[in-house]
């Protein structure tokens, strides 16, 4: 009975759209308009009148405390949870009238529990959606190899293994590879790195950023870790109860100008330091070089520069480019100056992302 839904006429009218968006592997826009979710028997809505537009190729972080409705909001986009009200459009097309199973095959989905199928090999796990989409065996095999390499798992070594033979970090990479299998333009990620240890998480985050720079998907990424949001997000939506948007902006602007008390409390201590981490030395005004000062590269952030100043006790550090040519120096005073009138600089930094 549930199988029959895939054959309903409504689907065939949408396959055109779905194949159209799957051509756009570089990401498509997502619009949520007045979306609500009310569970029967509960007086308060879990998500109340949520509206947002996400640009193609943007990585948007939903941050908020547990139970604020951020996951519910995300899961309405692939209709794991059906909205009670409102409309959701992907690339301008309403998805609520589509067959949910067809829709989900074109949206990557990564969850905290990873959910690799324990009785299938890693290669079979990654091949699930392509198989559902009716790809040929050889095309699936090629894609699996390519993806394993993308997430830095050696196909020779890992393709034939079962999930339980992998470490947590390796499993999460396989999970990401599986979500990318059919090259969906949209990815939904629900605390994907939440269950890994701090070192693995840091590594996975860095890899994920590199990957996103390559693939440019439209990604909604749910986390309760504000530092993760700053590190990964193009824009961050800080959410409170019933998934109310307290602020929706770039990490730099949220750090510099928190909209209200709630957002400030979420940022926590050390907002200035977090801002420094977002500003690369390339965007900081440099002073003339100082002889014998410790060196730092142009790709590092102001936070790294400050770190070196504190560690070495030097008055200034020299900034060098990739060819080890000294470009100038930076001091405590110049870092403060950047922070104090830094808004334009920080914006410029954001603009280049």
């Amino acid at each position: 009975m549930p199988d029959s839904t895939t054959d309903t006429p409504a689907v065939s009218t949408n396959t055109g759209f779905l194949s159209a968006i799957s051509q756009k592997q570089r990401g498509v826009s997502i619009e949520l308009d007045g979306v609500s979710k009310v569970y029967p028997g509960q007086p308060e809505a879990a998500v109340d009148d949520f509206s947002m537009r996400i640009e193609p190729g943007e990585l948007v972080m939903f941050v908020g405390p547990s139970g604020c409705g951020k996951t519910t909001t995300m899961k309405m986009i692939n209709r794991i949870i059906e909205p009670s009200n409102g409309s959701i459009r992907i690339d301008g097309t309403d998805i609520l009238s589509m067959d949910p199973n067809q829709l989900r095959r074109h949206i990557g989905y990564v969850i905290q529990q990873i959910g690799l199928f324990p009785h299938l090999t890693i290669a079979e796990n990654i091949g699930v959606v392509p198989k559902l989409l009716g790809w040929s065996k050889s095309r699936i095999a090629d894609r699996v190899d390519e993806l394993l390499q993308t997430v830095q798992l050696d196909p020779e070594q890992f393709a034939k293994r079962y999930p339980k033979q992998l470490s947590g970090g390796q499993q999460q990479r396989a999970g990401v590879a599986r979500a990318l299998a059919a090259d969906p333009p949209v990815m939904l990620m629900d605390e994907p790195f939440g269950a890994t240890d701090p070192i693995t998480r840091e590594k996975l985050q860095a890899e994920f950023l590199r990957l996103q720079a390559d693939i440019g998907k439209t990604i909604i990424f749910v986390t309760h870790d504000f530092d993760e949001a700053i590190k990964l997000g193009d824009r961050i939506a800080v959410l409170s109860d019933r998934s109310q948007i307290e602020q929706f902006d770039t990490p730099a602007r949220i750090l510099a100008n928190p909209a209200n008390e709630y957002v400030s409390s979420f940022i926590g201590q050390g907002a200035a330091l977090k801002r420094l981490a977002l500003i690369p030395l390339i965007d900081a005004p440099l002073r003339p070089a100082v002889d014998g000062a410790p060196q730092i590269t142009l790709q590092d952030s102001l936070r790294d520069a400050l770190n070196m100043l504190v560690l070495t006790g030097a008055a200034a550090v020299n900034v060098v480019d990739v060819d080890h040519r000294v470009c100038g120096s930076i001091t405590n005073a110049s870092i403060s100056a950047v922070l104090n009138d830094a808004q334009p600089v920080a914006f410029a930094a954001e603009g280049t992302r």
């Binding site: 692939n78 829709l103 095959r105 989905y109 905290q112 199928f117 324990p118 009785h119 559902l132």
Partner: protein, 266 residues
């Protein structure tokens, strides 16, 4: 059942790919696997030698000969296997239906009935059915199915319920339909628990099939009852030993099958 068979096929291929554990572990496993048939073989041999050394009277001779024994054993096995197969055909889909309905009422009714089936003494069921319906094989079959329905129903439900919620959500999130999730994910992952239920049912059937004799459905119960009635201890003893041996061996075979068809990677 067809679903489980599907997994079996792919699993057989996979078995070759992954090498076994250390030598010592394999040794221990071999000992565990060989233990049951060795013990049964020893007991059967001892029984045979004991009977062979005895002077049998004409009544005992009528029972303790190869033709008679094989006939009873095959009746017993046919009854057991037929009942277990029926239970598999009925109870596994029933378990799936209960799981899928997610309704308290359906759950309560199904388990209520299965509980009654198992709680009611099988002798009572057999005799009642014989009175209101008929004697013979069919009646014995119904009684056995009623008696061994519960473990399979219960294990099917538990097996499906214990599949990790993250795995189920990932499957749904990837765009599998409900029946694809069931066939490709839930049933293969539940299969070890379902098979364990079937194994229990098989062993139940072997022991309960002895009462088929009361309604003229044959089996090794004939020997036990005759041995008691005619006070021929060797007949009673051989009947009992054979039932026990069959139960142990069937459990052993089912264990091997379980081991063999268990999905790789679990």
């Amino acid at each position: 059942m067809s679903i489980v068979t599907e997994t079996e096929v792919s699993l057989v291929d996979d078995l070759k790919a992954v090498p076994d554990g250390s030598g010592r572990r394999r040794y221990g496993r071999l000992a565990r696997i060989a233990a049951a048939p060795v013990v049964v073989g020893f007991v059967l041999l001892a029984t045979y030698l004991w009977i062979a050394s005895m002077q049998l009277d004409s009544i005992e001779k009528r029972t303790l000969n190869a033709d008679y024994l094989f006939a009873r054993i095959s009746e017993h096995l046919v009854l057991t296997v037929a009942a277990s197969a029926l239970v598999a055909i009925l109870a596994i889909p029933a378990g799936i239906a209960v799981y899928r309905s997610r309704s308290k009422v359906v759950h309560t009714v199904a388990f209520g009935l299965a509980n009654i089936g198992q709680a009611t003494p099988a002798v009572g069921v057999v005799i009642l059915l014989a009175i209101v319906w008929q004697t013979g094989f069919a009646t014995a079959l119904v009684a056995l199915v009623a008696y061994s329905f519960l473990p399979v129903l219960r294990n099917t439900l538990i097996g499906l319920e214990q599949v990790d919620a993250g795995v189920k959500e990932a499957a749904r999130g990837m765009g599998m339909t409900y029946s694809q999730v069931l066939r490709r994910i839930e049933l293969p992952l539940a299969s070890p628990v379902i098979l364990a239920g079937l194994r229990t049912a098989l062993v139940f059937c072997v022991s309960v099939a002895t009462i088929a004799t009361f309604i003229n459905a044959g089996g090794l119960g004939d020997m036990i009852v005759n041995g008691l009635k005619l006070q021929r201890f060797p007949v009673l003893f051989v009947g009992a030993i054979l039932v026990a041996a069959i139960a142990v061996l069937i459990d052993w075979i089912a264990g091997l099958v379980e081991e063999f068809v268990k999905p790789r990677g679990l």
